[in-house]
């Protein structure tokens, strides 16, 4: 047979048709599809048995209960525990990403010597670093000109804190510094008013009649966030929350009303509101004798008389009608919790600011009442007590240029004190700064040495009572992963440094200190224990021994102290009844009014603000900042359109912010809800920390600072 062109074409056509009708091309297509989606660089998540474990979040003092979904031993997802007695199922965005922290690309696995000026590490072996630090510590004992030893404890109240306090006591003038937590500082006004049995106060937010928040970030990281959220969900009447803040924050968005106030005038508004309550006799009836006593103080009378609603309105930028209405509302819904600040890094207020705002707590009967500020016992003390402990000191109490050796525990609340504030306290050019951290970028502009420590989910960490909680509470954050070999607990570093400095030192251990704490809690027989695994609440006295209680803690449990019997506050102990307090407040108010009355020219007021929920090292945090507009990014500057127009600035433009302390490059973001004349810059925790541009007053307070904002011509 002759094969012609037609046969060839028929064969090819038939072959093509036959192949198309066979499974072959579809199988090839399927395989190619699968193959092209399984490149070697696309990770294949390892499979394994799903195991649920429990722990307590150690990323901030709130101590939320956490359910950890593990594949084998590897945590793959975290979520809150709905029945948890303090967090009520809440876990913030940062907490949800806690299992990413061990894999931070910036993680250090060896002690690091930093050249802070050059922003790079210096080659030095761990032994050499320990030897250097030992010598520097030993010099403090012999050379008075070397300055004092100081240590900053980011989470005071732990047994680890005892090791820090004991180390500080080894040096002449050794100082144990507790960062200025806004909630604790606020409650300090009432210290000692309930007697020695109740050295602390808590906030009974669940039963509050109303809440007047002066910039407290109630829905953005304040205190134990789950408590307020639960109250919001369960209360038909709502929170009766009034947010007084220059920025329309997320908390302001959740509040029943928002009063946009001029920055720095919060204490004046508080005194103005107090004046309305006193004039209208709307204060708690039981306080009549106390108010009579206050009225005997001439400065008190003069100050309140000088701040009628009309005058207060003029100073604070809020209408007189809103001031009168707010005063009447909080008086009508007692007890009213007046809360000032509280952000972990947004900056504390001054002592006098807290005095002014807390006057409202006194007037509405919140002090010592259900739903107000309640007395709280301290955690049961370790027995026998650890000897030679330095007393806690506020940073403001440390003289400038006095610290020769500074240790910073950066394991919990990151960057809670701006570098600029710390730098003022250091002996110039001679001080040694050591940071306990998992990354070399923590206080990188300040630190000379970074000693690696385990992170959350790797570390055995005690979680003491949260600053706002109404009763003492305790739990453990238990390790679910192994830390890198060189990352050891801060207590172990303290032991090694003490050995290197040849101090008279009996080594301490985190585990032993924690065991002692469990023994103390078991011994007090008070309170109840919540088990994370089964949600059961069991009386402390039902645990047969401290070992049994310890076992419960290690598998996930929280201890809550029982509520104390009602205690009457001794009001006469309060600073309000000392005439000099009012003289001081009067002077301070006059100073603020003077600052406020200066005409606005080319300047704006710089207001740093914290975005606590996204302060995490996880790369997924970018979903909330770069990949959406939910949170401002580092370097954003929020200003009102009217301010932008005055300064000839537009959305998205690069600009420079300048104060007497330095300059910062920012990106302009227009925000209709910002008080005109202010610029709000988020605290990013990086070198570009806007707090370092703020004026720092004598009491180490940084807040509203005049600044110049000008466009950068590219």
């Amino acid at each position: 047979m002759k094969i012609d062109r037609r046969h060839v074409l028929k064969f090819l056509g038939g072959s093509a048709l036959g192949t198309a009708l066979s499974p072959l091309p579809w199988k090839v297509l399927d395989d190619v599809s699968i193959w092209t989606q399984n490149w070697s660089w696309i990770p294949v998540p390892p499979k394994g048995e799903t195991v649920i474990r429990h722990t307590t979040c150690a990323l901030c003092p709130a101590g939320c209960g956490v359910k950890v979904r593990c594949i084998g031993t590897q945590p793959v997802a975290l979520s809150g525990l709905p029945g948890h007695p303090t967090s009520h199922g809440f876990l913030c965005p940062g907490g949800l990403l806690g299992h990413h922290l061990p894999y931070d690309p910036r993680r250090i696995t060896q002690p690091v010597r930093l050249d802070s000026a050059a922003h790079q590490s210096v080659s030095r072996s761990p032994e050499q670093i320990l030897s250097d630090l030992g010598k520097a510590l030993a010099r403090l004992k012999t050379d008075a000109s070397a300055g004092r030893f100081a240590i900053i404890d980011s989470l005071p109240g732990r047994s680890t804190s005892l090791a820090y306090r004991q180390l500080a006591s080894q040096f002449p003038g050794g100082t144990y510094i507790v960062p200025a937590d806004g909630i604790k500082k606020s409650l300090c006004v009432f210290n000692g008013v309930f007697g020695a049995a109740y050295p602390e106060l808590g906030i009974d937010v669940e039963r509050a009649g109303s809440i007047l928040s002066f910039g407290a970030d109630l829905f953005e990281g304040w205190g134990t966030p789950g408590r307020l959220l639960r109250k919001q969900q369960e209360s038909d009447a709502g929170l009766r929350l009034t947010q007084i803040e220059p920025r329309y924050s997320n908390t302001a968005a959740m509040a029943e009303s928002w009063l946009p106030i001029w920055p720095g005038t919060e204490p004046i508004l508080a005194l103005g509101l107090a004046g309305v309550i006193i004039r209208e006799k709307a204060f708690n009836p039981g306080l009549s004798p106390a108010i009579d006593a206050l009225n005997q103080i001439s400065d008190f009378r003069d100050l309140l008389a000088a701040l009628p609603p009309e005058r207060t309105a003029e100073i604070c930028g809020i209408s007189a009608e809103a001031i009168s209405r707010t005063a009447q509302e909080i008086a009508a819904h007692p007890p009213c919790l007046a809360l000032l600040g509280g952000s972990y890094s947004g900056g504390p207020f001054g002592e006098d600011d807290y005095l002014s705002v807390n006057l409202l707590n006194l007037l509405t009967g919140a002090l010592g009442a259900e739903g107000g500020l309640v007395p709280r016992r301290a955690l049961p003390e370790i027995d026998p007590p650890v000897a030679n402990l330095a007393s806690p000191t506020d940073l403001a109490g440390v003289p400038d240029e006095s610290i020769g050796f500074l240790m910073i525990d950066g394991t919990v609340a990151r960057q809670s004190i701006p570098s600029a504030v710390l730098r003022r306290k250091l002996v110039r050019d001679k001080a040694v700064v050591v940071s306990f951290s998992s990354v070399a970028t923590e206080y990188a502009d300040l630190s000379h040495y970074v000693l690696p420590v385990p992170v959350y989910l790797e570390a055995f960490q005690e979680i003491p009572t949260a600053p706002d909680f109404p009763v003492a509470a305790f739990s453990f954050s238990v390790p679910l992963l192994s830390p890198p070999p060189a990352a050891t607990s801060p207590v172990e570093w303290v032991n090694r440094l003490a050995g290197s400095a040849r101090l008279d030192w009996a080594p301490l251990s985190t585990e032993a200190l924690a065991e002692a704490r469990i023994k103390a809690i078991s011994g007090c027989k008070r309170g109840s224990v919540y088990s994370y695994a089964d949600g059961a609440m069991k009386s402390n006295s039902d645990f047969a021994s401290a070992e049994e209680l310890g076992k419960a803690f290690r598998s996930g449990a929280s201890w809550l102290d029982s509520a104390p019997d009602p205690v009457k506050p001794e009001l006469t102990k309060l600073p309000y009844f000392q005439p000099e307090t009012w003289g001081r407040l009067k002077r301070q108010v006059n100073q603020r009014i003077e600052v406020r009355s200066k005409p606005a020219d080319e300047t704006v007021t710089l207001m740093p603000f914290a975005t606590a929920f996204v302060a995490t090292a996880s790369p997924l945090a970018g979903k909330l900042t770069r990949e959406s507009d939910l949170y401002p990014r580092a370097g954003d500057a929020l200003i009102s359109p009217s301010t932008a127009s005055r300064l000839a600035l537009q959305e998205g433009q690069r600009a420079e912010l300048e104060t007497g302390k330095g300059r910062l490059g920012v990106r302009i973001r227009l925000n209709e809800a910002a008080v005109p004349g202010t610029v709000f810059v988020p605290i990013s925790g990086s070198d570009a920390d806007p707090r370092n541009l703020c004026e720092i007053s004598e009491d180490s307070i940084w807040r509203a600072t005049p600044a110049k904002l000008r466009r950068l011509d590219v």
Binding site: S33, T36, Q37, W39, W41, I42, P43, V44, P45, I71, Q74, V76, A77, S79, G80, L91, C92, P93, L96, L97, H99, H100, P102, Y103, D104, P105, P225, G226, L229, Q232, Q233, Y248, N250, T251, A253, M254, P260, F613, V614, P619, L620, G622, K623, L624, R626, E627, S628, D629, L630, D636, S640, P641, S642, E651, R669, L670, N671, E672, A673, V675
Partner: protein, 261 residues
């Protein structure tokens, strides 16, 4: 019109279940926990530094929308937007040339099969809610972080589209559990999407819209409930609720007045 086209038009309308969600906008505090829990659950990769809100991937995205007023009357609402699980003439289903999008007849959930996806992005153009996302980059996690991925969900490659499927892996796990217990049916109570599980304010409620007694059905019937761009007739299964009239009015504007910061 053919029967199959009719079926495509009515996709999911007559499903035995209509899984959907109610979002209480007066409760959402804009914390973003839903966005992160979703990313963790569904192995959504972080994107490079240069990515912005148009190239990022967030199966549920919380928008900040303003009332357009000037200071001091300016107000903000947080609007979580996810795939609206359209039940009628589902736009992405209608345009997909690859049959990579379908509506589950059992649950009414609009599913996306990245294995079939060609990356043509017709579905993104068709979606009126901007709830679909394209993988502009290969999924890359920092070293070690790949150990934290959820083994129940395969990471997607560069060049395909993805979107919310109401946590399909959780639904599958619930189906497997139901099967092990001798049941063929999965009820809405048997599982919750990750965003609903972690929402700290209780703003998200998930359930079966076919069950009149379910929480989500009750919320959907609330007089203050609405759906986004309802006039398009896509019959979304995501309901929103707010007592504020200016927020309800936003629904018809497609969040066009959303704030930039």
């Amino acid at each position: 019109m053919s029967d199959s086209m009719d079926q495509k038009k009515e996709s999911g309308r007559h499903a035995s279940h209509r899984f959907g969600m109610a979002v209480d906008l007066d409760r959402c505090n804009g914390c973003g926990a839903c966005m992160l829990a979703c990313s963790v659950e569904n192995n959504i990769a972080p994107v490079p530094e240069e990515a912005d809100d148009r190239k990022g991937i967030t199966w549920i995205r919380v928008y900040k929308a303003s009332n357009g007023a000037a200071f001091p009357e300016a107000r903000t609402v947080f609007v979580p937007v996810l795939c609206q699980q359209c039940g009628h003439e589902t736009p992405c289903v209608a345009v997909c040339p690859q049959q990579a999008v379908d509506v589950d007849p059992e649950t009414g959930i609009v599913g996306q099969m990245p294995e079939r996806c060609l990356g043509c992005r017709y579905c993104m153009a068709a979606c009126p809610y901007h709830a679909r996302y394209f993988n502009w980059w290969d999924p890359v996690w920092p070293k070690g972080l790949e150990k934290t991925l959820n083994p129940a969900v395969a990471p997607r490659m560069r060049g395909v589209v993805e979107k919310c499927n109401l946590c399909h892996a959780r639904l599958q796990a619930a189906q497997a559990k139901a099967a092990a217990e001798g049941s063929r049916d999965v009820k809405a109570d048997d599982y919750q999407p990750a965003c609903v599980e972690v929402c700290p304010t209780g703003a998200l409620t998930f359930g079966d819209l076919n069950d009149p007694a379910s929480g989500v059905s009750k919320l959907a019937r609330d007089q203050n409930s609405f759906r986004l761009l309802e006039r398009l007739g896509t019959d979304p299964k995501i309901y929103y609720r707010s007592k504020r009239s200016w927020v309800r009015e936003l629904a018809e504007q497609g969040l066009s007045s959303r704030s930039k910061s």
